[in-house]
Symmetry: C2
Subunit: 401 residues, 2 copies
Amino acid sequence: MSTKTYARSDLECVEWLRGRGRSALRRMVERVSRPGVLSLAGGLPAPELFPARKYGEAIQKVLASDPRALQYGASYEPLRIKLAGLLAERGVACEPGDILLTHGAQQAIGIAAGLLLAPGATVVFEEAVYTGALEAVAPYSPRILTVGTDPETGFDVDALEARLASGERPAFVYLIPEAHNPVGATLSEEKRERLADLAERYGVALIEDDAYGLLVYDGAAGRPLKSLVPDRVLFVGSFSKVIAPALRLGYLVVPPALRQAAQLLKESIDLECSALTQRALAALLDDGFLPGHLARLRETYRARRDAMLEAVEAEFPAGTRFSRPRGGFFVWAVLPGDVDTSALLDRALEEEGVAFVPGSAFSADGRGSRRALRLSFASQPPEAIREGVRRLGRMLRVPAR
Amino acid sequence: MSTKTYARSDLECVEWLRGRGRSALRRMVERVSRPGVLSLAGGLPAPELFPARKYGEAIQKVLASDPRALQYGASYEPLRIKLAGLLAERGVACEPGDILLTHGAQQAIGIAAGLLLAPGATVVFEEAVYTGALEAVAPYSPRILTVGTDPETGFDVDALEARLASGERPAFVYLIPEAHNPVGATLSEEKRERLADLAERYGVALIEDDAYGLLVYDGAAGRPLKSLVPDRVLFVGSFSKVIAPALRLGYLVVPPALRQAAQLLKESIDLECSALTQRALAALLDDGFLPGHLARLRETYRARRDAMLEAVEAEFPAGTRFSRPRGGFFVWAVLPGDVDTSALLDRALEEEGVAFVPGSAFSADGRGSRRALRLSFASQPPEAIREGVRRLGRMLRVPAR
């Protein structure tokens, strides 16, 4: 028996987590969640649109009729069949077996990354990126290449092509072709075709995040990359925005070659999603509920978006560039002149009681998009949106004290 | 623009997942889940004990009264306060802030591993191990050291001490001190104290899996390692066995030094657990429901365990060693002579229509515990348990045809 003793010390976590703080976006959203602040910051869906009663009824029905509702069990096939039908309407042809149900889009992105990304390998993100995707890859300490994001046209395909032509072979490219978060852009058909061509030509995987693909307010959504090059695309979706976040149900559609690995990875992480939630959602969708519900969501969010765009047009300084999103939750505004929206946020909170998210919160290195800000129109009614933008415009016209 | 083209090929997943099959346990459980088979194989809790009506009522109450029930939100503090109280009864002193809510015990083990385990580092498991723990560490391709597991006394503390004394410094030791899965053993007070002492002396982290700690049928559960060396122990628990698996709610209690890292890791994986499920569970627990429910569970499972032990004693061949679990779901039997229970399973299914899990399914390399088998008494009534064991005993007395 060894008699050597060791100095006592706290347990230490693995290196990538050491000294790591919460993401800039989360800190920001917490900082601005104060009583009395009119928040255009968070990306929360409007709670008054959650189908609480219908969902509660679906749960009761399932609990009363399905003895497997509370048990462990394989992924509920009727839900995946239903979902494959919904995806077909979106232009994505897949079999139920290609669909992995996940705890939200966040887990779908994480599993996609886990399938493709070896520690230290290279990934491509946009300069303005959904921060959850950055967090999902952080455990792999990847090398991150960025390409630009235009507030109107979105992903800079030329920049990606140059990277690939110069020999870069990223494990994947992460992108949001439809109703981008945070930028609000939707990719043109031409850009989508070029991206599909690049993915095919260079054998590159794309993670296509479609979190807002069912929330398009003008015309139809564009063709998913998943429909153009299905074998190259891992397609991410979620019921958080179209039903409610507390379902914690999202999905990852994988090429058939990755089916088994995706299932194994999910099981190793948390076995499965809730049998009850899967069955309740299936019951809700069976009920023919979704089309009318989506129409209500689109109508409400369209009115809020229109209110925000009109207000930004009227109230923000001349020379402001801003996106005119055809879907999703966000308007991205790039201010003229040499401003730093992080500093402006302090003024907005103190002088005007209004919150937004500074562009730098969406930057991989925390330094990009300093002149930009993200405004959410999802969780406030039009009157409050107009009031909030009016106050921001007033502040932007007056120099800092 | 590059004109070079690349050969088309399927996307390939990362190395550790390539060619990897489902775990031996999962394959086994699927293989034996046939209609007409009397299964003593799976580890499913008894569905007739799920509080479906009460849980449904709790959901309705929350949906009707709490506007945040379907929204994104921070981990629900009233549930963590309630849980800290439950853990205190179990001898674990912790603050609500030390508790991370997870998607089942599986995710709690995975997050514990993610906090502590760098790729390729060393971990210690028992020779007979809950396979979910092996799956949770697989992404890190660890070096696995094993120590023995005795069906009566459990974890071989001498073997661990020898490993540590010889200079091994594992990222953690995973163990189930109370009502072990698959072996059924509970550690003596002396073994617990020695493990705590080793953890302290060598600065080693312990992952203490307490999935069955509330299901002890004779007297009180032992003192958790977490109560002996709180700063060295990550404590894993779950509501899957005491309420229902479909809640997908488990928990990880971490030392304060790991609080922030644990929270960050959970957010990077899937943001959070369901606000609705957290609130419904809190409402159920507030209702004073748990003590009576636990008493019912213990009474039912105790009777099933007793039926199984009596039957094994009466029906299995002389020379069989088997555990007499004071809690949990499983009896572990080690057969006399040179047998391979994997081969016996085929006979059991074909000749007797009875299923069990061969011991090798719980072995890190698939080769250990060949003479052992795991029998679950959780999901069958006493009469079926007696019948199943009787048939197995009959088969074991007759040589293979």
